[in-house]
Structure formats: C-alpha cells, structure tokens
C-alpha cells in the first residue's frame, strides 16, 4: 500500500511539474504618460525631392501617444522587456526575420525588438537611395547603401544591446531603434500603450521600459498562477 501511494505521489508531482512549465505565465500592462504631451511634429523633407513627393507629411515618431483622459495618455513606441529574473538557459531561436521597411523616408517600424542572431531584413520601398547605418556598439559595424529597387539587406545582431540606433546618413531625420535581447521576453507598445509578454514561469521579474526621449523606467512584477500585471507611467515633472 505504502509503495502504491508513494508511486501515486511521485506521479502527481511529475504531472505538477510538467504543468507548471507547460502553462507559462504572462505579464500584461499599460505604459502611460502623465502631463502635457509633446506636440506631434512634422519633418521637413526638402532635402530630398523624392521624399517630399509623397503626399503625406512625415511625422516625427520620437514621442507617440494615443487618446487620453485627465492628462494621462497611453504611449506608443515603447520598448518593454524583462531585464532580469528569467532563467539563463538558451531560448529557442526566433521564427522568421524582423523586417524593417524604409517607406516614405521613415523606418517602419520606428521601434522594434530582435533576438541575438535573428535575421533582420532591411527593405527599401522608396524610389530613392537610403543607407542603413547601425550605431550599435556590441555588434559588428553595419552600414549598407540601398539604392531604389535594391534587394533586401540582411543582418544579424551578435550581442544584446538596448537600444541600437539605426539611421540613414542621406536623410538625417531618419532613424529607428531596435532592442536586441538573447531571450524572447519583450514587446513594443502601440498607441493604446498595452503590452503583453508571454511564456514566463511564476516568479518575480524586473521589467524595463524604454522611451526615445524620456529614457528608461523599471518596475518589478510577480507572476503568480500564470499572470502578473505592471503599469508604468512616464512624466516630465520633477
């Protein structure tokens, strides 16, 4: 009898441990800005007639917020990532490349995340020449010229770095940012400010958010029974 019960306990434990790794948790939350938002700016593209030809004016994406109430606005273009607390073992590689398009003389998306070793594909949809110049310090130099109609240029970051600035020397206003990590726990917010990072075990994590003008904020969140919530608020009041 004894033997039987202990066997059953072992079996239960096994099931439990399998369950706890299989059903991983998610961190969810919203990034907001409190205060008077920076007015949206348009960029003068006189430098390149091809860029001015496009009907829409180019928006500066350094500070993007959605509709807000009571002086609190959800923020877009925020890179959110788990800074510490996750297990250090290697994670399965990303599926598929990260594609960054050069369209209407801006980078689409303006903020994104990539895994170390993941293929990053730069595309030029414009009828003009751009160059993709990575200013990353941890990965090998990358500065590729892409004339109109050039095939996509591929690149892979070699080491984590938050954030890597990428710019076009031909169009000084053109820049974008890529957060490079060796794990998959990151997200980029849309204008609703919401993010969701899945695949995390129960535990406590440090989460950092990055904003192009306002820098980084960190918060701590505990995932229990598969979920945790963390809201981050930026402000410029001192």
């Amino acid at each position: 009898m004894n033997l039987k019960t202990s066997g059953a306990v072992v079996a239960l434990c096994l099931v439990g441990s399998i369950l706890s790794t299989a059903v991983a948790g998610t961190i969810e939350g919203t990034v907001t800005y409190k205060g008077k938002p920076r007015p949206a700016k348009t960029i003068s593209t006189d430098a390149d007639p091809v860029c001015s030809m496009s009907h829409e004016a180019i928006k500066d994406e350094k500070f993007v917020v959605g509709e807000g109430t009571d002086g609190v606005y959800p923020m877009g273009n925020i890179f959110v990532y788990v800074k510490s607390g996750y297990a250090e073992h290697p994670y399965p590689a990303a599926t598929g490349p990260l594609v960054i398009d050069q369209k209407g003389c801006t980078y689409v998306p303006h903020v994104s995340g990539a895994r170390v070793g993941q293929e990053v594909e730069f595309k030029n949809s414009d009828p003009t020449m751009h160059n993709v110049h990575s200013l990353g310090k941890n990965s090998p130099a990358f500065n590729r010229g892409m004339p109109a109609g050039a095939p996509n240029a591929g690149y892979a970051f070699k080491a984590p770095e938050v954030m890597v600035k990428i710019k076009c020397d031909a169009h000084p206003w053109m820049s974008c940012y890529v957060g490079v990590l060796d794990h998959p726990f990151f997200a980029v917010t849309e204008t609703d400010g919401k993010f969701s990072i899945a695949g995390l075990d129960d535990g406590t994590y440090v989460v950092e958010t990055w904003q192009e003008l306002l820098g980084t904020l960190t918060g701590s969140v505990t995932v229990k029974d598969g979920s945790g919530t963390l809201d981050i608020q930026y402000t410029r009041d001192k």
Binding site: D48, G145, P151, A153
Partner: protein, 992 residues
C-alpha cells in the same frame, strides 16, 4: 722482493711512520670522497635543476587542469556526445556479431594460408620453367638431339605454371572478398572512431603530454627509468632535467670570447621554462609567460626565440645558469636587497653587458631599431626619444641620431624687436615662473648656485644685455594691423588647429607626460604673451613665421589680416604682468670684474687682466662677460645667437653613453647612490646639479647642465633612451635589414616627427593628439555658433532642445583631421607632393586648416615616398586611369552615380557643389577632385568595403560579399559596376 722479512725490516727502519701515513691516506681519501660527494651534490642541487623540477609540477598541474576543462567541454558538447554514443552503439553492435566476425576471421586466415601455399608452389614451378627454358635454349644452340624432348617438357611446365597462376589468382580474389566483407562489417565503427578522434584531438594531445609528465600515468619500467635517470651521478648520462634541451644557440649572432667570436648561447630558458608558452601568465618568475608573445619569441612573431635568443634584447650573460651568473640587474636598491636576501645575488662585476633592469628593457630595442623614431611596443623608448627631441638634448650633447637637426629654441637674432630686456632678464632667471610647463630649462637659482645669487643675477643680466646689443634689426612686413577681436580670436585658436602643437591658456596639462600629450607641447604654451611681446609682433609672426625665424617649425596657417589680428588680440589678452615687474640689477663693476677675470686669466697674467679691465667701461665689461657666459652656458645649443652661429656644442657626447665606464661618471659625494649608470642618469636628470652637493667649488667649475624639471615618467623614458645609446653592434644591426622601404619609412617618420604631423593626424595608427580639442570645440564652440545662427521661430512647447541626441563620436570624426593611416595607398604621389607644397581644401566643412610648411623639394619627396613605401605602393609614377566617355560602361557609371541609384552627390561635394539639404557633418570630399587625387585601385577597394579601411565611416557598403548587387547595371557584375562608377567619377572636373 726476495726477502720479505728483510723488506719489512727496512720498512720499519723508514724515518717516517707508516702508521701515520696510513691514517693520513685514509683521511685524505675520506676527504676526497666527501668532496666528491659534495661536488656531485652541488651539481645535483643547482638552481636550474630545482626550477625544472618544480616547473614539471606546475606543468603537470596545468596540463591536468587543461585536460579536465577539455574533457568537461567535450562532455557538454553535443557533437562529442553524439559521436561517442554512436561509437559505443556501433561497437556494441559489432560485439553482438563477434562469433560471426571471428568465424570470418578464421576463414580469412585459412584463405590467406592457402594462398601462401599456392603462391609458393607457383613460384617453384616458375623457377623450374625458367631453368628448363635455359636448358632448351642451350640445347638448341649446341644442336643437341635432346632439344625437342626438352622443349616438350618446357611447354608442359609452362602449361602447369599458367594453371597454378590462375589458382593463385582465384585464391587472391577469394581473400580480397573475405577481407572486404570483414572491413564492410567494421567500416562504420572505424569511420565513427575517426570522426570522434577529430573532435577529441585536443584532449588526446593533452593526455599524451600528461602521459610523459605524470609518473602515475607511466608504466613501472618507464617510471623507474624516469626516476633513475635523474638520480645524482646517474644524471650525467641522459637526464630529464638538463641544460642541453633548453638552451638556445642563436643563429647568426656571435659574442666575443677572448679574441674569438663564438656563437651566442642563451641559457635563460633553462629556468624561464614557460617564457614562450601560453598559459603560464599566472605563474611567478622564472616560469611566467613573456608579456608579449605576439611581438616576441613566437615563431610567427617578428622576433622568434630561435633567431634572437634573450640577451640580444635584454642583455645579461646568456651562458649563466644561476640567478647571479646570468647577470640579472635589480630595478631598485630595494630590489637589490631583496635579491641578496632571497637568491644570494651579487652584481657580476666582470661582465660589461649586464641585463637591463625591468623598467629599462626597451633600451634594448634601440640596439637594432636605432633608425626608427617610433618602435612598435616600445612606448617608453619612444617617449624618451621624443623628450630628447623636444628638450633639444642634442643641442649640447652630440647624439648620432640627431646630427643635423635644427636648434630647438626660437632665434635670438632679432630678440630686441620681440621682448624687453627686463622681461628677458626675468625669463632667463626663472622660466618656470612665467610658464609652468615651458621646455626652456632653468640655469639659475639651482641647488648649486642659489648661494651666489648676486653673482648669477649679474650673469643673467650680462647675457641679456649682450643679446639686446647684438640683436639685429628686423623689418616687419606689417607696420600696423586691423583692430582685432579677442573673442573671435579665441574661437579661431580653437577652430584652426593651433592645439595640435600648442597648449592654450587655461588648458590643464595631464598629470603624466605621454607621447600624445607631448605632441601638444611642440610649440610653446600660449600663456602670458601680452606680457612678453606686442600684438603687432604676434600679428606679423602669425602672418609669416619664417620671415622672423627662417628655421622655425611653426607653419603658415594662411591667416587673413583680420584672422591674424583677432588671433593676436586673443593671444596678448593672456598676461602675467607681475612676472617681470622689477628692473634687473644695475651692473656691478666688482662682480663683473670677478667674472671677467675668470675668463681672461688663463690667457694673460692677473695683473695684465686687471689692467685691461681698468680701461673698459661698465657696458664693455657687461658685453664681454655676457658673450663669455653665453659660451659657458652653451645657449647657442638651442638658440640662434648673433656671434655664435657656428659654435660647437658644449656637452659631452651621448653616443655610446650606455657603455661609458662607471668610473667616468662623477658621483661626487653621493655615496648612497648605487654605482650603476642608470642610477646616475636618473639623478642627473632629476637634478643636474646634484653631484655638486657638499663639494667646495669655484663658481666657474660648478656643473652647468640646466634643470628641465622632468617628471618621473619622463626621466624613466629618457634613461631608457640613454641606455639604448650603445656602441653599435653590426650583427644586431643586420637583424633590421636596410630595405628601401625601411629607409624611406624611417626618413619619413623622422620628418613627420619634426613637423609634428601626429599632433593633428593619426598616422600609421598613432597620433591625433588634437582629438580632445576637437571634442571640446564641438561641445563649447561649434554648438554656440550654430545656436546663434538658428532663428527660433517656433513657439516653445516646453520640451526644449534636449531631445536631439548627438552621436558625439561620429561628429568628432566628421570634424577631425583626416586619418592618414594608409594614405599612401589612397592618394597619388604627384597629388600628395603638390598638396603638401600648397594645400588645397578637400573638406570644406572642416574649420581646421592644413598649414603650409614651406617644405623643400627634398622634404616633399621624403614625405611622398614615405607614404607610398609605407603602403607598399608603386612610387613615384602611377599610370592614369583611361576613361572612355563613349562607352556603355561609362553611361552605366553615370546612371549609378545619379540620384536614381546610389545618389553619390547626396553626401559628396561634386565640383564645389555642396550636397543640398544635408548638414555639414554629413558632407564628404569633392569627387571632382578624385581624378587628380586618388589612386584608381584604391577607389575600387574603398567601394568594396569602406568600413574595412575606415571603421565607423558614413560611407555605406553597396556590395555585400556574396550578395546580389543592389543595382542591375552591367549585368549586375559588382566589379564592373565599381569600375564604371570610378571612371565616371574620374571624368568629373577632369578638363583634360
């Protein structure tokens, strides 16, 4: 012999005691035995043996550790696990078939034996057949009647041979088939083992090494042998611990041994056992790895151990096998004491080439590299030579390397037009009082003459008065100047590149002198100028430095009148009025007489001299003393002085100073100082008057070398250089072959050093001292002027300007002088010649200005050849790239160049047209100048991978290796595309 008794009787009759003799004999043989044992023990117990024994332990531990790590690495490597699992699996499978395989082996052995028997049988038959053939032929020749019968027998035998031979062939095939069947069964295992072997190679090598080191890994016989061969006495035969296997017989370098040259033998490695091996960095000496294996000892390094040995660089006694006999030299008296305590060390007096103490090791580089101004890896030596050049040591002391160099200080030919006598008097008395970091050394108020200050004040004044009286008139080109604006001048001094050679007022000198900070001190520090001279003098000087001082190193910056006036206004705004506030002392007849007598008396009697003096006016006495004192102090070593244009330097020669006998160095009363040359040099440089201390000397006999107030790092560097000034060793010199390249590069380097090119430019990977000043300019001056230009029309949104993130490094690169590393591969020699002669603007966005140096044709050729030879490019003629403007390729080039493709003019200036809408810091050189300036082959290499030539450049790479070309022209062939673009570029602005 006949009668023993008789003999023994006689024996007893001897007048000495046999008994005593026996005792003496016994004792002496005992002593002899003891001393024999002691001798063997002494030999057995020699230092190096102990070192080799303990090194074996270290090596053993290291190898075990490495093996464990390698094993660990293998265990965690998936390839290893997979392969070894596979081997195990296959081996198991094979084991299961053992009986089958064994049976096959038996079959094969049987077949093999059968084949053996059959082959032998065949061979016998063959032998018989050939014997028979001989008999047939013989019978046939003799017309023997038996010939026919023999022939029949022979044919029968032939038939039998062919039958047997087909039997053998059959058996052979059978054996091969059986063997093949067996190999087929084992092939998988063998293959897998081979694969695994490739992965475990490193581990297996370590294990092999360990098996030779570790007694516990040896079989009993080997282990016994290993122990016995190193026992005392036995070790005379073939010991593990020995000198022979470790010593280095240096190829091609000999040493003097009593009237003969014998090959140099360096036994340093008998104890320094890990010196050329990686992995012993953490060990104490003598096992420690050499600190720079890339540069030294390694087979692929420029100084392989076998060719250079150790003593070629370090000095010392190579044949020595003990700490003392190798002529080790301590770095300090403290270390000497430590060594005496620990190793029983003493100085090896009879050896005239002791090891250089650790801090002066680089002096050894100079033995071979005496022609170079900069030796890779010899920072201290390089700094030492640079200080020697900057301080102008060669002005007073002959140094072969610097023969023919121009004087280091400003000319005093027209001194009266530049400074007042009062200022000059105070300057001569106390240069440091005016400028903290001046390179003008102090002659007065020193430890050996502050007691005679009244006299030295008279001396200084007499010299100044001489200079002023003899000063020749100077016609300045401009008698007036526009009104200058000091603020604009401040901006100019920080924008034009003055800081490549000068420290400006308010700048802080770094705590320790480095070769880089020294580059910024090539010209005087620009402080206190308003108290020294007039704005008009500075204005004239800036407009044309050579008009005042033909040999000056100050180049012409081609300043406009207004620029020069502004700069002058700024420079004279720095004042130090309290420095020369008091008038010099009035000439004192008594003191001047005393000084004059010192000079006159050897040539005449005292009475005659006194008489002569009585007829001289005070001015004449001052003039006489001034002239004589200038000679005594040797001022003309550094300055061009009227009346002393051809005077000989006053100091002792520094050639071979390192070999100078210690007895010729006067230690005075400094008994505590170690009697070693470098200790003397150190003290001499720290206080040149030290060795007068405590001595009673007439003023005229006192030491005269002035005090340069060198800091410890500079002293250390200069002593390194001095210790390098040895008697040239022809064999060592030959180690640096005098190839044309080396000769041209050395000549060019020397001139580049004199012109201080590295103050602004990075050259051969080193230099660019102005870098920090450019960063300062960007932060404090450029941003201010940009801000004032911008009109802030937009209303304030409360977010200010802090949002603009500036890539400082990229900006600093954009506004820095061009990096000249590899310049010879880039530009055409003819262009470079003309550019250096009369610089043209290549980068209009730079505020820094390439000055005009007024170089001679000879100097221009030296520099042009230097760049080409350094880059190993043809010199001086370069064939022109011929461009066919009617070709299809040319049309393709034009298209690729255009905005619709690579849009080169987006960043590059073309024919003076600056890129539209692009900010200055994004601009790139004018491509219309490329045809005259750039080498055609360089452009192709550059286009292929700009980052490889200039890391961090904004020039993008268009053709990634192995990827499709980004443009479709010319069949998408990258090489043809690059050539087409270059050809189109070469047609721009080319009017020919």
């Amino acid at each position: 012999m006949a009668d023993k008794k008789e003999n023994s009787h006689e024996w007893d009759q001897r007048h000495y005691s046999a008994h005593l003799l026996n005792i003496i004999f016994a004792l002496s043989s005992l002593i002899f035995l003891a001393s024999m044992i002691l001798m063997f023990w002494k030999d057995y117990d020699r230092e190096w043996r102990t070192h080799q024994r303990s090194f074996r332990q270290v090596e053993l531990a290291k190898t075990q550790e490495a093996l464990a790590i390698e094993q660990e690495r293998l265990t965690s490597a998936s390839s290893y696990t997979t392969l070894s699992n596979r081997v195990a699996e296959l081996e198991a499978a094979q084991a299961a078939q053992k009986s089958e395989l064994d049976a096959m082996a038996v079959d094969r052995d049987k077949a093999d034996k059968k084949l053996g028997v059959a082959t032998q049988d065949l061979n016998f038959e063959k032998a018989e057949a050939s014997a028979m053939r001989y008999r047939v032929e013989a019978a046939h020749g003799e017309h023997d009647h038996k010939a026919e019968a023999l022939r029949a027998a022979y044919e029968k035998l032939t038939l039998s041979v062919s039958t047997k031979s087909s039997v053998v062939d059959g058996l052979q095939a059978e054996l091969e088939a059986l063997t093949a069947a067996m190999t087929a069964r084992t092939a998988a295992v063998d293959e897998a083992r081979k694969e695994l072997g490739k992965v475990t190679l490193q581990r297996d090598l370590l294990a092999l090494r360990l098996s030779k080191l570790d007694p516990s890994k040896m079989d009993v016989a080997t282990r016994l042998g290993d122990t016995v061969r190193d026992l005392p006495l036995m070790d005379a035969l073939n010991p593990r611990y020995n000198i022979r296997d470790h010593q280095i017989i240096v190829e091609g370098i000999t040493e003097d041994l009593i009237f003969d040259r014998v090959p140099r033998v360096d036994r340093c490695t008998v104890c320094h056992l890990g010196i050329d091996r990686k992995g012993f960095e953490d060990q104490p000496n003598p096992f420690k790895t050499h600190p720079d294996l890339d540069l030294f000892l390694g087979l692929s390094s420029p100084h392989p151990l076998k060719e250079f040995g150790c003593t070629s660089c370090h000095g010392g006694r190579g044949r020595g096998t003990s700490f003392t006999s190798a002529a080790h030299m301590p770095r300090s008296p403290e270390q000497a004491a430590e060594w005496k305590e620990e190793y029983g060390w003493h100085e090896l007096h009879h050896w005239d080439r002791p090891m250089r103490p650790a801090q002066y090791t680089q002096a050894g580089c100079f033995e071979c590299h005496s022609g170079a101004s900069q030796t890779t890896g010899a920072d201290s030596l390089n700094l030492g030579l640079a200080v020697v050049e900057r301080a102008g040591c060669y002005g007073c002391h002959e140094i072969e390397k610097y023969v023919g160099r121009s004087r280091v200080g400003p000319t005093l030919q027209h001194i009266a037009s530049k400074v007042t006598p009062q200022w000059a008097y105070h300057w001569l008395n106390d240069p440091k009082g005016f400028r903290d970091h001046t390179w003008m050394p102090s002659f007065f108020n020193q430890t050996n003459n502050s007691d005679i200050k009244d006299r030295t004040d008279q001396e200084a004044n007499a010299m100044v008065q001489y200079l002023m009286r003899e000063s020749r008139a100077h016609e300045a080109a401009h008698e007036s100047m526009p009104t200058g604006d000091a603020e604009r001048g401040r901006v100019l001094t920080r924008s034009l590149g003055c800081q490549g050679c000068h420290m400006l007022d308010g700048e802080t000198y770094p705590e320790t002198l480095t070769i880089q900070s020294l580059r910024r001190q090539q010209g005087p520090g620009l402080t206190g100028i308003g108290s020294k001279t007039t704005a008009l003098w500075v204005f004239n000087w800036l407009k044309d430095p050579r008009a005042y001082h033909p040999a000056t190193r100050m180049p012409n910056l081609r300043l406009s009148d207004q620029e020069a006036a502004d700069t002058a206004a700024y420079l004279v705004s720095s004042r130090k009025d309290d420095f020369a506030a008091t008038p010099p002392p009035a000439p004192a007849a008594e003191a001047l007489d005393a000084i004059a007598l010192e000079f006159m008396v050897p040539g005449m009697t005292r009475a005659q001299a006194t008489q002569a003096l009585a007829t001289m006016s005070l001015d004449e006495k001052q003039q006489y003393c001034g002239s004589k004192l200038i000679r005594r102090y040797g001022c003309f070593g550094c300055h061009d002085i009227p009346g002393f244009e051809d005077a000989r330097p006053i100091g002792t020669t520094l050639n071979e100073i390192a070999d100078k006998s210690i007895s010729k160095l006067d230690f005075g009363l400094q008994h505590d100082l170690p009697h070693i040359n470098y200790a003397w040099f150190e003290q001499k440089l720290a206080n040149p008057r030290l060795f007068d201390e405590g001595m009673v000397k007439e003023p005229k006999d006192r030491l005269r070398m002035p005090n340069f107030h060198l800091e410890p790092a500079a002293i250390n560097a200069v002593v390194t250089a001095l210790l390098g000034f040895t008697k040239p060793d022809d064999e060592l010199k030959k180690m640096v072959p005098r190839t044309p390249r080396r000769i041209f590069v050395e000549k060019g380097e020397a001139l580049a050093g004199e012109l201080n090119c590295r103050g602004c430019h990075v050259l051969r990977g080193d230099g660019g001292a102005i870098k920090d000043s450019v960063a300062y300019w960007l932060e404090h001056i450029k941003t201010n002027s940009d801000a004032s230009e911008e009109d802030d029309s937009g209303e304030d949104d409360g977010w200010g300007e802090e949002e603009e993130e500036i890539d400082v490094a990229a900006l600093a690169r954009a506004y820095s002088p061009p990096n000249l590393t590899g310049e010879g591969a880039k530009v055409q020699p003819t262009w470079l010649f003309h550019f250096l002669q009369a610089p043209e603007t290549i980068r209009p966005w730079l505020t820094l200005r390439m000055p005009s140096y007024g170089l001679s044709d000879d100097q221009l050729n030296t520099l042009t050849a230097f760049f080409s030879y350094d880059a190993e490019k043809p010199f001086p003629f370069v064939s022109q790239t011929v461009v066919d403007t009617n070709s299809a390729a040319y049309a393709a080039g034009r298209e690729m160049f255009s905005p619709s493709a690579m849009s080169c003019a987006r960043c590059h200036i073309t024919g003076g047209q600056t890129p539209i809408g692009s900010s200055e810091d994004n601009w790139a050189p004018d491509l219309a100048k490329a045809h005259a300036r750039l080498r055609g082959d360089w452009i192709l290499t550059w286009l292929q991978n700009p980052q490889a030539i200039e890391p961090g450049t904004k020039m993008p790479m268009y053709w990634a290796p192995g990827e499709q070309s980004p443009v479709p022209h010319l069949d998408g062939d990258p090489q043809r595309q690059r050539e087409a673009i270059r050809d189109y570029m070469f047609s721009l602005g080319n009017t020919q």
